[in-house]
Subunit: 214 residues, 2 copies
């Protein structure tokens, strides 16, 4: 059954980006370390037009996520990378470039209405300014019998958690301490209960899957 899932890399001290994010360093200081487990994978390199790389437990987890995902929801800042609404938008596709790696429809939560953008590789960006439930409804329709993946940032994740719209969370827990930056989870005593459903580990990352009790 299709679910709404969060699939995200996080440091052991619960950050999804380091401190001092800039356009040049959108993941903040040290933030790229959270994604290093992906860059060496054959499956990731193939999707980004590169050859080589390894195939291991991590690549199976990544491939599984890619195949299960029919649509993506993300925040405006994750789409464009900058402070202003579209400041890093040289080719209409935000800082993801002409051929973004998603390969499925992407729904961008924003306060700024905008016409959809279709790019190469089957990625189409649709801009939703009516809130998370509207974005999820559109994403579900686009995903068909596949999952909707919430990609971030933290603000969007926290809105989905608070609205009790996430069915599943998969954390790729990276053995690094960032010491500051953007925390994935927000404050408040209204957190949903979690049930640990699967653990897959490799030397570089621990993939933890939880069912969310909403």
């Amino acid at each position: 059954m299709a679910v709404t899932t969060l699939d995200i890399s996080m440091s052991l001290d619960s950050f999804i980006a380091g401190p001092n994010q800039t356009v040049e360093e959108p993941l903040g200081e040290g933030g790229l370390q959270l994604h290093e487990w992906i860059f060496g994978l054959a499956s990731w390199r193939e999707r980004h037009g590169q050859s080589g790389g390894v195939t291991n437990a991590d690549s199976e987890v990544l491939q599984e996520s890619v195949e299960a995902t029919g649509a993506v929801v993300m925040g405006r800042r994750m789409f464009s990378g900058g402070e202003g609404p579209w400041e890093n938008d040289p080719v209409a596709g935000g800082w993801w470039g002409e051929e973004p790696p998603f390969g499925v429809p992407v729904f961008v939560l924003t306060h700024h209405a905008r016409q959809p953008v279709e790019l190469q590789g089957e990625t189409a960006f649709t801009f939703v300014s009516e809130g998370v439930e509207a974005a999820l409804e559109q994403a579900r329709a686009a995903a068909g019998d596949r999952n909707v993946a919430v990609a971030g940032g933290a603000n969007v994740v926290q809105q989905f958690l608070a609205a009790r719209l996430l069915d599943e969370i998969q954390i790729h827990l990276v053995p690094v301490l960032l010491g500051g930056g953007v925390r994935l989870f927000g404050p408040g005593d209204e957190q949903p209960a979690l049930e640990l459903t699967r653990v897959i580990d490799s030397p570089t990352v621990t993939h933890l899957r939880y069912r969310v009790a909403n």
Copy 2:
């Protein structure tokens, strides 16, 4: 080889205690959830004079830690449980009672010098007011060829990390979001690098072991 290790339960949002800690609720609101994986274990129940309980992967991890530990270092607040230095100290042993569960020498970091206290079950509390390095030196001597375990709280852990005195970290990652409370790791860009060395999981907790590169 004997190492200095941190062995601690943490929520997925990186808290080791919930918000609003009190003498009645020393782990804060919701904080007991972090230790529920222990309370049902046969090995834990036996050490606390109770019968029954289960034996599973979690009990092996706990038993392994207990057997490897030759001395414990903790903060003053973890010893006495209250704001004032010894306010919950009816029987000289702080709120741990007449027969604390450690069974090895415990070194309490404090600004308040105090004579050692020997209790039943081979637990002796020694009070060290000369800082973490002095506490570690005394704990190492007491531990012999076994490990020194840093038990908390967060402030003590952060002092050990900052002084580059921890060799190993074992996090018992509990599938719960506390939404507030006491964070295990502190801020700052001088965090040590970690290497993931072992993962053991059960339905209720994920045991993650890291080597610290100091």
